[in-house]
């Protein structure tokens, strides 16, 4: 399994495709709302089909333990379908409508936070995946190091030095000089070198400690989506079940 060339779609291609996808959906929404494809995206069948397809794909990963399925063409298509259904459903249902759909009313906050939150979180993870870089390196005591290795074994020379200053085994804390600044790194407490780059402590041995450098420029999108979903879940708790609606959302 696997097979989807994720890294090929790295910036700027992912941003171009994302813009194209949003524009395509907007065009369909504005000019072809009665077309078969838009009616499918907005139908109950579309919603149930996309959620079920995602559920089945997750069940396959769950039973087989094969994480490569998440980077297969089939899975990518399911994710794209789910996001498209979410986008169309949000465009139609974010405000109250009369049965004829003619007049827009109050904003449906719970609906909007849950659906848009899910779309933003999924979308950031999906479109941002090609830009994620994960590297491992060994920080050695009093010896500046720049050499890090990507997960596929490809080496990369960092533009700055990393030196291990101290390591406390009892509290599992490392004092590391990163780019001239001394930082304390421990499990659950990474060091943010830049807005998009964090340094994690992964392990240690007698020579030094193993660090993981994660570059994830889209992480703030995921974070925003999660925040919206949390607010939506709070409203789910406070308001409880929704009555059956005339529109299928």
């Amino acid at each position: 399994m696997g097979g989807f060339p994720t890294s090929f779609f790295a910036f700027p291609l992912n941003v171009i495709l994302l813009s194209g996808w949003i524009m395509g959906c907007s065009l369909l929404w504005n000019h072809c709302r009665k077309s078969l494809i838009v009616r499918f995206f907005l139908s109950t069948t579309g919603t149930i089909f996309s959620v079920s397809a995602f559920l089945i794909a997750c069940l396959v990963i769950g039973f087989t333990g094969n994480r490569d399925i998440a980077s297969s063409w089939v899975f990518v298509c399911i994710m794209l379908l789910l996001q498209t259904v979410l986008l169309f459903v949000i465009m139609r249902g974010w405000r109250e409508q009369t049965p004829t759909g003619a007049r827009l009313g109050a904003v449906r906050w719970r609906f909007l936070l849950l659906h848009l939150g899910l779309l933003v979180a999924l979308g950031s993870a999906f479109w941002g995946a090609p830009d994620v870089q994960i590297m491992r390196m060994k920080a050695l005591a009093d010896m500046p190091t720049q050499e890090a290795y990507h997960m596929d074994g490809k080496p990369e020379w960092l533009s700055y030095d990393i030196v291990l200053k101290d390591f406390d085994q009892s509290s599992y804390e490392a004092l590391v000089e990163v780019d001239g600044k001394v930082a304390k790194i421990k499990v659950n407490h990474p060091y943010s070198r830049t807005l998009c780059e964090d340094v994690y402590l992964m392990g240690y041995d007698e020579r030094g400690c193993v660090l993981e450098i994660v570059r994830e420029p889209w992480k703030y999108g995921t974070m925003a989506g999660i925040a919206m979903l949390l607010a939506g879940a709070l409203l789910l708790f406070l308001r409880g079940p929704q009555r059956q609606r005339h529109v299928n959302d």
């Binding site: 149930i48 997750c58 659950n188 990474p190 994660v214 959302d249």
Partner: protein, 274 residues
């Protein structure tokens, strides 16, 4: 000065008071008769007393946690005993909030039992007070993450029982009661899953890594999301909806403990007892 005296040696007194208030609240809430009108004076009086008792129970535990925090000069989040203290606190708080909002009379009994188990463990096994958690678990996310999951499991467990009843019974009330429980349970499930994602980002650098535990948590969440959509859209027969709830609960069991026995899940980073 008082806080400097707060140690585990006096926990038994705080625990006894908290347990007594929690069970008093549970008993009073159970005594309120189903046939009483929600606006009747008798009903409101019973409800107020149970809420007051419940708040006292939470306040007693909060006072102990605050005192311990002050005397340790660090947040009490490092040892097994300290985390169980927080479980008790959050179980009582979640029970109180759910009772205030949704008036389930049984919920205070459930949260009282759950919180008491952890408090009694802390009293009976003082050795866990010094048992340090592994570094990965020493996080502010640990306790809310686990507590909201445990709470959602209990709500969804009740929804599962209603689904079984719904397969054979015909009353409309069964499904609407199941709906409320599923909405509340899914809200807690969402908090649990997303707090886990935020914690994973802090601990391992990734919100999501398709670890078996994460995958089964997502599967469980998707099952309940599908159920909610089927109900809102009026799709699927009652039998199909009940069967979906039963399947969702089976997935929840797989996520909770089943993955420990799933051969393909043995590389999970969420199995801490290896």
């Amino acid at each position: 000065m008082i806080s400097a005296m707060v140690t585990w040696d006096i926990f038994i007194w705080f625990a006894s008071a908290a347990i007594a208030f929690a069970f008093a609240a549970a008993v009073v809430s159970l005594c309120a008769n189903d046939h009483w009108s929600a606006s009747s004076l008798r009903y409101r009086r019973f409800r107020r007393i149970s809420i007051f008792m419940s708040v006292l129970s939470v306040a007693v535990l909060a006072a102990f946690i605050a005192g311990l925090w002050e005397s340790l000069e660090r947040p009490p989040l490092r040892t097994m005993g300290e985390t169980r203290l927080w479980y008790s606190f959050f179980a009582l708080t979640a029970g109180l909030l759910t009772y205030v909002r949704w008036r389930y009379r049984w919920i205070l009994s459930f949260s009282a039992i759950l919180a008491s188990v952890f408090m009694i463990l802390n009293v009976l096994r003082p050795e866990i007070h010094d048992q340090t958690l592994m570094p990965a678990l020493q996080s502010g996310w640990f306790i809310p993450h686990v507590t909201v999951y445990m709470f959602s499991y209990s709500l969804l467990g009740c929804a599962f029982l209603l689904a079984l009843a719904g397969l054979f019974g015909k009353g409309k009330d069964i499904m609407s009661a199941a709906d409320t429980l599923v909405y509340l349970g899914t809200a807690f499930l969402t908090f649990g899953m997303l707090s886990g994602a935020l914690w994973a980002k802090d601990a391992w650098g990734h919100y999501w890594a398709w670890d078996p535990k994460e995958t089964w948590a997502l599967i469980t969440w998707l099952c309940y999301v599908l159920y909610i959509h089927l109900r809102v859209m009026g799709r699927g027969s009652r039998t199909a909806q009940c069967l979906l709830l039963i399947f969702a609960f089976a997935c929840l069991q797989m996520c909770w403990w089943g993955i420990n026995y799933l051969p393909s899940a043995q590389d999970s980073i969420h199995i801490y007892n290896r």
